[in-house]
């Protein structure tokens, strides 16, 4: 058996089949166009998520992550939750991913670094993921999803969202902002250049 035998297991097929089986039960009723689009986007998301897990080159992993996050955003758009989709794009694809790629480019030393997890690690990961998958599928089948109104959510979700954020959910909103403030201060403190105490200053003449 060559070294990478673990990766040649038909994992993608297994996962895709289970996903299809799971939501076969609640097939969307409306026009067929949406269904086709949904399956396409779902396949893209799942595929790039897998790619992200399996990829060895670190930058390819980051790009598969972009595919996953973009796919999730597309799913939101399909469910006409446009505000959520756009926020997903801004925060994740536009923000976090840029920082990840930035970090990856700055620190990874060699271009051709191959991340080769040992088989025992892969086994452990598979076990955990399998358990998680089973749990999710079980929850998915047991709950009865309320059928969304046919024409997608009513217009004006943004205004309603804004209103509720500042009225009903004001306390969590403020807590989140305090947390973000703390994070920003922490980041500023960490990024502060080490005060030139020790000798090795960057001056030209030693």
């Amino acid at each position: 058996m060559t070294r990478g035998w673990l990766y040649r297991l038909p994992l993608p097929a297994l996962l895709a089949a289970s996903a299809l089986a799971a939501d076969g039960a609640a097939a969307p009723a409306a026009d067929p166009g949406k269904a086709v689009a949904f399956y396409l986007v779902a396949a893209v998301t799942v595929g790039s998520a897998l790619g992200c897990a399996i990829a060895t080159n670190i930058v390819r992993m980051a790009m598969c992550l972009l595919g996953t996050l973009g796919g999730v955003a597309l799913l939101y758009f399909l469910m006409s939750a446009t505000f959520l989709g756009v926020i997903q794009l801004i925060v994740y694809a536009g923000g976090t991913l840029i920082v990840i790629v930035f970090g990856v480019m700055l620190t990874s030393r060699a271009y051709g670094v191959k991340l080769r997890p040992r088989p025992v690690e892969v086994l452990a990961a598979l076990v955990v993921c399998g358990a998680l998958l089973v749990g999710l599928v079980a929850v998915l089948l047991r709950t009865d999803w309320p059928a969304a109104p046919a024409g997608g959510a009513a217009e004006g979700t943004v205004a309603a969202l804004g209103g509720s954020l500042l009225s009903v959910y004001l306390v969590p909103f403020e807590l989140a902002s305090v947390l973000l403030l703390a994070v920003m201060i922490g980041a500023a403190y960490l990024a502060q250049p080490a005060l030139p105490t020790a000798g090795d200053g960057a001056g030209p003449e030693e």
Partner: protein, 553 residues
Amino acid sequence: MNKFSAEDALRPRFTAAHKALALRGFVIAGVALLAAAVGFGFVAGVAQGVGYAAAVGGVVLAGLTGACCLLAAFVIRFAALVGRVLLTLALPIFLGGVVGIVVLAWIPALLYERVDGIKADHPGAAVSVAQFEAALTGNAAAARGPAYLAALALWPLQFQLTRDVLAVVGVVGFVSLVAMFGIWWERKVAGRMQSRLGPMRVGGWHGWAQSLADGLKLLQKEDIFIAGADRALFRLAPYVAFIPAMCLFIALPFSAAWVARDLEVGLIFIFAMLGVGVLGVLLAGWASNNKWSMLGAMREACQMISYEIPLGFALLVPIMTLGTLRLTAIGEAQSGGFHTWLAFANPFTFIAAIVFFVATLASCKRAPFDLPEAESELVAGYLTEYSGFRWALFFFAEYAEMFAVAALASVLFFGAWYSPLPASWGAAWADGPLWQRAVHGVLYSGPIWFVLKGFFFFFVQLWLRWTLPRIRLDQVMYACVQVLLPLTMVALLGNTLWLWLVRPGAWLAVAVNLILTAIGGLTVVAMAAIVLYGYLNRRRLVGTMAVDPLPGG
């Protein structure tokens, strides 16, 4: 690796044998398809209902492709003649193309009205073709005459999917036209600013087809891959940069009715697309396996992190003032003529407008902020290893983004598709017969104004690029974080207080509005005066010294 010698490169790729083969192939295909079209015609004569529709579709499709094949054969056979004809008729073809796109964009709008009319009196699910025909011909009999064909054409327009597809086609057509014109215009403006003419020869009048020729040239350039480059990412990068630049136009409102998809979250959708577009640049820098492009990509990342916050804050000001993210609503709010434009509402929106424009300069990597592809330091930054069409994709995305951002600035702050004249004056003409609506579109509000304003700010971006040198990376970060950010925070806070304290009708509001409108008006008039003055004594200013040309000169 096969040995690629110089002769291989010089040998023409398409020998006479190839040409003869292609000619024969096209002729055979053309004739076969036309025969198929005739066959479908007979079937259509006999078939009923959907079969009839399919047959008609077959006739149209087969006929069209057959005609194209024969045309291709004709072009191959009489290439020289076709070349000359194209050259002489170049300008009419170009103008015809422009008018064609405008008409193409106009027709669906009219048809939609008609379809909505018919759909209105058939509530419930999709309206069948027969019902369409009945509505068109007035009598209920389902005679399969020409009206049936018209009904057939109107039938798909009732679905949102087809409207979206048509909108995307329109957007892609408009964007490619804008990018083509933008590239050519930049070279003309640059030329005139440098006392030279710019492109004058390609395609006839003032070299209008220069960017077309560049596009074709880049298409047939050799596709170079660098050893050690990450092939997949290298190929992916241009598309990750290009697609968001195109998606920007989905949410941009050309006029109240003319918007591809009037998103409720249009404004932050565009903000998201600007953010995602940067990934393409980072990817290109990383995948080129070249130290210069790596540096270019890192510069882009640093620049992006520094300009994104002021850009976000500057967007908050109009959102807060008008309370909506929907771009058409923002546009509507500024319909009262020049003084009601948001930039002149209060000093803080004025500051936000300026900061927004500067931050978007950084986001399009233009003028003083064009560090990622700084040719004098980083050879060509992240574009160093790109050649041929991939490079053209990046170039295309840059110009599309430039226009989109310029148009966004005009939508948010400078009265989107409204002319300086208050829309209320022309209200009577708004829904009169077609010609009155056209005059209203030109005089008061219509896509013309949106495009004009877009190109005005596009010109300012060009103007900045050809006068200002490039700033350093630490200066970019200093400018964005230490200067623009506090400015936008002040604007945000000030705007909040202004909206809270100053009643719309109060004398202070009116006074400030008048002052700012005066400033805005004066700058536009001043620019027009400068352009006029420059044009009138261009001979002296350009500095053509030698009255009588020097020998040998």
